[in-house]
Amino acid sequence: MSIELIIGILNIVLISTTPLVFAGIGELVTEKSGVLNLGLEGLMLVGAVTGFITLVITGNYFYSLFLSIISGVILSGIFAFLVLNLMTNQIATGLALTIFGIGLSAMLGKKFGGTPIDGLNPYYFIVISFLLVFFVAYFLSKTKTGLIVRAVGENHNSAYALGYNVIKTRYLTIIFGGVMSSLAGYYISICYAPMWQEGMTAGRGWIALALVVFATWKPWRLLVGAYIFGGVAIMQMNLQAIGVKLPGQFFNMMPYLATIIVLVFISSNKLRLKLSAPSSLNIPFAKNQ
């Protein structure tokens, strides 16, 4: 293999993995505070379509990025209100958010599908994604606020008794996750495949969710996991193009399979499970308990 070929492969891996890093790191922070948001796919699609439409109308990348982020704030804000204040079931609400996002993005984008745009250089976002992982890892382990987030996720009643505002913390982490998903969607429709087409995220939100479990809720592992998932997908394409016969269907299910294996592995040991998963994940919190 020549150097050019290897650099080319790395380039494609970087470009295709970045949306997973964005969505995954956002969801990781949300889950660390004890909230499971299954709405990533919907958030990504709405972020993608909002950015795309704004870019087509204004021609300004800054506005499009800004509105895409706002869409994430609004949608995840609604999700936060439902699960935190009204204490709806997180799984059902998250699924509803995904289904809603798929429909909403399709409706908004109806007139804009097939409008050609000039894509943005993906490298800005690739650099930002690495910085984000670094920032989140530092935040969760070295800052007081990060420890509060983790305390809220581990045991919200104790955190509340210590005087921390559980609801406010979770609002912020949910909105952070929502914004990251929007960024992932924005990246897909503006940099990765510069276009708008319905359902164009094609299940990447679900892979990002799987990734968080695969990474056992650790930021650096999430980065490594994302590049394993992305790298394997691109490597199998390269091997195919060289003429090596591979079971392509197998590689399509690989991220999910790997996640199940990790789940089996960490659930087989109660202590390991305790150390990895936030204990209050998916448990609603009521102040007057």
């Binding site: 070929l5 080319g8 492969i9 380039n11 494609i12 470009i15 295709s16 949306p19 399709a106 984008g109 109806k110 599908g113 097939g114 050609p116 894509g119 897909i188 990765y192 495949a193 510069p194 276009m195 087409q197 319905e198 359902g199 164009m200 995220t201 094609a202 990447r204 997908a233 691109i234 394409m237 390269n238 195919q240 193009a241 060289i242 003429g243 090596v244 016969k245 079971p247 392509g248 269907q249 399509n252």
Partner: protein, 356 residues
């Protein structure tokens, strides 16, 4: 008094509306992707709109989009059949068994299954001879490639796709015996990101022409960005990649859909197998890009179209060998429709194996 008159009037209006609609035929469509994909589903939807315009008030149409090719398809098709549709088009190969399953339950409803080969008294099949278009683009690719490497992105290993690869390769190798094709199977019809990855991977491995048999225009866009050439798929994709798009193979479903809907309105519908190509206008080539292609090559391509139309040229003319070196089509003969419809092997010269 006024209110009474209004009530009576509105009652009459309802009756007259339902009288108009009483013999209106309901026609349903099942789509694999969204109508906005600017590829496969987009062209079926264009066909639906053409049919609506052609038949006017005698029909009304519905469609269900993004229907997966699994048990969900049965539910979607059954939903249309149970809600009074007279004719249902299922527009993807892997809806085949699902279409038959529902067709057995609803013998009075007519079904039209695209690109399949299983028929019943109330199930017709129809397809277009896309491979004729692939012969044209193969010829162009063979003459235009400088690296003698062509990247080919495909969805699923089904006869239609494999036939396309073979037709493309035979035409390309005829004018350029050194040509090699690199094939990537994506195992999805529609995933713009993955299609772009595949295109970039192929370009990275030296392909200077990108051919696709998937549904989004991402590969063409990736080719544009990398400065290599490409062919579009299903619809004219020139707007998305003006400096790399040489031509597209377009699927023209409208006239066929209108004819079948008319047959249902007239009560003359019968189960049949339709397989039309250039000759009947079901396949067309988008305008050749004069900025990229030399004029004499465009003329050659147009002459080939005419030759295929009047039968003097066939995409699968013998002698054709399979990868094992066995003669599958004898010299002086052409592959019959039976062989084409079930084609699951690569012809000699293509590297790699057909995935199982």
């Amino acid at each position: 008094m006024l209110r009474k008159i209004l009530t009576i009037l509105s009652f009459l209006a309802v009756i007259s509306v339902s009288a108009v609609h009483a013999d209106q035929k309901k026609i349903g469509f099942i789509y694999i992707g969204p109508p906005g994909d600017h590829g496969w589903t987009y062209m079926h939807d264009q066909g639906r709109i053409y049919m609506e315009n052609a038949l006017g008030d005698s029909i009304s149409t519905t469609y269900i989009e993004n229907v997966p090719e699994n048990a969900d398809a049965v539910r979607a098709i059954r939903k249309l059949a149970a809600s009074g549709h007279d004719l249902i088009f299922t527009t993807s190969f892997n809806y085949m068994d699902q279409t038959l399953e529902v067709a057995k339950e609803f013998p009075d409803v007519k079904f039209e299954h695209a690109t399949g080969f299983k028929r019943m008294d109330n199930v017709s099949t129809y397809s277009a001879r896309f491979y004729e278009g692939r012969t044209i683009i193969g010829h162009i690719a063979g003459k235009m490639t400088k690296t003698n490497t062509i990247g080919y992105i495909v969805s699923f290993p089904i006869p239609e796709v494999i036939r396309g690869i073979n037709a493309f390769y035979l035409a390309a190798a005829k004018v350029n015996p050194d040509v090699k094709i690199k094939i990537i199977w994506n195992y999805s019809w529609y995933d713009p990101g993955k299609e772009a990855d595949a295109a970039n991977t192929l370009i990275n491995q030296g392909a200077d022409i990108i051919v696709q048999h998937t549904d989004s225009y991402a590969p063409c866009q990736a080719a544009e960005k990398a400065g290599v050439l490409a062919f579009g798929q299903a619809s004219n994709q020139e707007a998305f990649c003006p400096n790399s798009h040489m031509t597209s193979i377009e699927d023209i479903w409208g006239p066929y859909y209108a004819a079948k809907a008319q047959a249902v309105v007239d009560g003359t519908w019968s189960s049949e197998d339709t397989w039309h190509g250039f000759k009947d206008g079901m396949v067309e080539m988008s305008p050749y890009n004069t900025k990229l292609l030399p004029l004499d090559l465009i003329l050659e391509a147009k002459n080939m179209e005419t030759a295929i139309e009047n039968g003097t040229l066939h995409s699968f003319e013998g002698p054709i060998y399979n990868q094992a070196g066995e003669l599958v089509v004898k010299e002086g003969e052409v592959a019959d429709d039976g062989m084409l419809a079930s084609m699951m092997f690569y012809v000699q010269g293509i590297d790699g194996e057909v995935p199982q």
